[in-house]
Amino acid sequence: MTRSELIAALAARFSHLPRQDVDAAVRVLLRTMRDTLAQGGRIEIRGFGSFTLHRRPPRMGRNPKTGEVVAVPAKWAPHFKPGKTLRERVDAAKSGNN
C-alpha cells in the first residue's frame, strides 16, 4: 500500500468528508509525525507502536570510491518499536495460522 492508496482507503471510509480534506489530513498527519521527530520528540501510538530517535556514535568511514578515510559525525536515526497489539496481530497472521 502506498500513501495515495491509504488516502483512497480513508476517503472510502469517510465518504462524507471532502476528498481534499482526507488528502490534506494524511499530509498533515505525516508532516506532524516527521516534525515531532525532527525536534527530538517521540511519537507514542497506543497499540500501534512508538517512534523514537537512536543516537549513532561518530565513526570513521571510507569513501567507497577513493578508499579515503573520513570522519562521520554522530547522528540520530529514527527507530520504530511496534506496539503489543500490532505485534500480536501480525504474528497471529503468519503462514499456517490464517
Binding site: 500500500m1 502506498t2 500513501r3 491509504l6 482507503a9 480513508l10 471510509r13 469517510f14 468528508l17 480534506d21 482526507v22 490534506a24 489530513a25 494524511v26 498533515v28 498527519l29 505525516l30 506532524t32 509525525m33 516527521r34 516534525d35 515531532t36 521527530l37 525532527a38 525536534q39 527530538g40 520528540g41 517521540r42 511519537i43 507514542e44 501510538i45 497506543r46 497499540g47 500501534f48 507502536g49 517512534f51 530517535l53 559525525p73 547522528k75 540520530w76 536515526a77 529514527p78 527507530h79 520504530f80 511496534p82 497489539t85 500490532l86 505485534r87 496481530r89 501480525v90 504474528d91 497471529a92 497472521a93 503468519k94 503462514s95
Partner: protein, 110 residues
Amino acid sequence: MAAELTKAEMTEALVEQVGIPRAEAKQLVECFFETITERLVAGETVKLSGFGVFEVRDKPQRPGRNPRTGEVVPIEPRRVVTFHASNKLKEAVAHHDLVERNPEREPAVV
C-alpha cells in the same frame, strides 16, 4: 511543540490545520493507524512517501536461552514488523540537536 506526540495531538492538528470536526478527526486518526495495521496483518508492505516503509518479515526459529537458568530453549518462528525511515525523515532528524531553536528559551548565562 510537545515532546511527545499522541493520537490526541494528531487529532488536534487535523482540527486546526484541516478544519475537520473533532469527532471525525479522532476517527480519522484511529482509521489511519488501523488501515496501516490491517495491511501489515495481510502481509503487505506499506510505503508512506516522505516518511518511511513498514514491512513484515518472517523470522525463522532460532535457539535462545532462558536468561535466569541458562537453559537453551528454541525461539519459535514469528512474523515481525520492521520500519525503515525515508531519506527525508532521516535527514530531518540526523542533526536535530545541533539546530538552534528558540534561543530566548535557553537558560540565561550569568
